[in-house]
Symmetry: C2
Subunit: 134 residues, 2 copies
């Protein structure tokens, strides 16, 4: 099953808003962290970008369920919630993609990678969405 | 085990910032939603307030693990993450507490309850915290 993001609320993903992404720790407890977010409109995929070895990255694997919460930075009562499934994690294009996010969120064309930092592009299929104030 | 919230970052809980709270659905998938948040400094308890019957309320029971993510509304790179455990859910004082939150977030002394709405005050013990930009 898959659900599209309604046109009227796509700006929450495409704008400069942060997303809070929840994953499941190995012990079954939840984890949540703010991240930069992106949306591939043509493929209806939510895109995230993380560094190899981070705690939240370890919770992210193909088939893993994630939940995403995004508020409009100009109106916190305008909200998009997504429950989805990770369909791909790849190093391919991940560096270009973090530069795109860097431009969007920080107006810096090149994201400053740490020594040896490897970026991973994460693609999420939205399964269930809910909105508020829209 | 219990961890105190450092003095220097308590304003994230006491200020007008939203918290994104992650819980676990019955099927093991994560759920996350933005909420009003509060902190009882004397008892070192994170306080939330929800309505009986809501999805996230069904995921909240004594002993349930939750994760909380809070960004400073004036600087999203200043951040507090909490992993905690629900130690109490009670109707006692919950109505007074939602009015307190209403004042804090909306500058309205009385929270407009729906017909038959029952509020629940949720108390969370912080077990592990991490901060950023502080």
């Amino acid at each position: 099953m898959e659900m599209s993001i309604p046109e009227s609320i796509q700006d929450l993903l495409l704008g400069k808003n942060f997303a809070h992404v929840a994953t499941i720790n190995p012990d079954g407890s939840p984890q949540v962290t703010p991240v930069w977010i992106d949306y591939d409109k043509a493929k209806n995929e939510i895109l995230m970008n993380t560094a190899k070895g981070r705690k939240k990255t370890r919770n992210m694997f193909k088939g893993a369920k994630v939940a995403i919460s995004i508020q409009d930075q100009n109106n916190p009562y305008r909200y998009l919630g997504i429950q989805g499934e990770i369909i791909d994690l790849t190093e391919t294009g991940a560096k270009e993609h973090i530069n795109k996010l860097s431009m969007k969120y920080m107006e810096r064309a090149i994201y400053p990678l740490s020594e040896g930092e490897i970026r991973i592009l994460i693609k999420i299929k939205p399964i269930y969405i809910h909105t508020m104030g829209n």
